[in-house]
Subunit: 283 residues, 2 copies
Amino acid sequence: MERTEHHASFGGRQEVWQHASRSTGTPMKLGVYLPPAALKGEACPVLYWLSGLTCTEQNFITKAGAQQFAAEHGLILIAPDTSPRGDDVPNDPAYDLGQGAGFYVNATQAPWATNFRMEEYVVHELPEVVAALLQQQGVKTSGRQGIFGHSMGGHGALTLALRHPGAYQSVSAFAPIVAPSAVPWGQKVFTAYLGEDRTQWLAHDTVALIPGAKERLPILVDQGADDEFLSQLQPELLKAACEQVGHPFTLNMRPGYDHSYYFIASFMGEHMAHHAAALKAAG
Amino acid sequence: MERTEHHASFGGRQEVWQHASRSTGTPMKLGVYLPPAALKGEACPVLYWLSGLTCTEQNFITKAGAQQFAAEHGLILIAPDTSPRGDDVPNDPAYDLGQGAGFYVNATQAPWATNFRMEEYVVHELPEVVAALLQQQGVKTSGRQGIFGHSMGGHGALTLALRHPGAYQSVSAFAPIVAPSAVPWGQKVFTAYLGEDRTQWLAHDTVALIPGAKERLPILVDQGADDEFLSQLQPELLKAACEQVGHPFTLNMRPGYDHSYYFIASFMGEHMAHHAAALKAAG
């Protein structure tokens, strides 16, 4: 486990770490933001950010403007990479399959199954890695965790929270892919990673997971109304699914906003406040 | 004049424009942020940001987190490129000379003199370009202008404000090169762009300009105490020069901070408040 970057940021510290992952069999990088409260010895909640297609651990930490709000609320921010990477790791020339497009599932199909195990990585390995690197720096956590993300990472945040009840105490998403089984991005990668049997896909499809959710964790979604990928996202499908079973759901449609980090940064403060309220409430 | 990007951002709009520059003889790009107040028809001040070595117009608009504060204060933000660019434009393999390293002077020496005219571009052409593209969109300005920047761009902001009294009503800098004549970065490019005669250099050296300044525009500087380039920056030389003649100067040394955009973003809110106070005061 090696720290490859560290920068003072809003009174805290933005770090990047690299470690050998047992889940993916590759080196993995992650961004770690420690707010001033954590550096002063307070036990802080941990909030995970999952990025979208083509992103590395860098996009969120350089462009989202989240450190300001993490400092304000006393949240530790963890931003992993979006897939395993490397010359020996399977890939595809398309931007939406293979490296940079892990989709936060454990692939069952060749050639992906060996390395593309991002659900295992995020849900089980990453908290251990984070615990170890925080302990190494004398930083304490409160034991509470939240998760959020963008686009493919919004899909990741929603499905991982729904598939692992109790693991996260708050969840939100920017422009998430809510029904991957029903849209081209999801159909392409699920065919590749999970195979032709569509019943396997539904276990990783937010809209399909909502009716059977074991807990009713409130979901906050922001969506740009001028998002160029709206046909891949379809937040109204999630709205309908939540309404049908009474799952608490807030959808903010944002007129004029697109799919970019300009959109994410504009509403980052509201999402961080949502997580802070849930994570800092009595456990 | 062509708009190549536009994104909703903090209730306003982040744009990128490209135009044919008469100063540099090349196409030039610039970032333009229009705050909500400007889109609603209010006459807003214009604040120019000058970036550092290697940067394009993209670094500031994607990483500095300035839109949030520009929206809050009602400031139009303009972020030009740092030099002319192109296959036909002179260059140097080093990162600190040629393309990406315009240094905000008008070069007098071959092969740079034809295209490397960034002082002319920023001070005279850019306000005309901005006026034209704002008029095209029905956006009004208050007629007041501020300027700030980082590293080489901090040098640019300070020297242009000092060399053109009356042009700018506010100035500040992050980690500026304050005495280019006395440090390797400045000595290298000034020799290339301005020639061997060091008296020519002093006209573009903030510390040398302070004693003869025609107006005492207050200067705000933030400097990371752990900046890896501190030996090229030497803010204490500017502090001494200002003290000697009573030029109003505030130097915030920031323990732990480095030279990166993490540093810039952390104190962007304070700099934007500094400019807003000066630019929105009675003219």
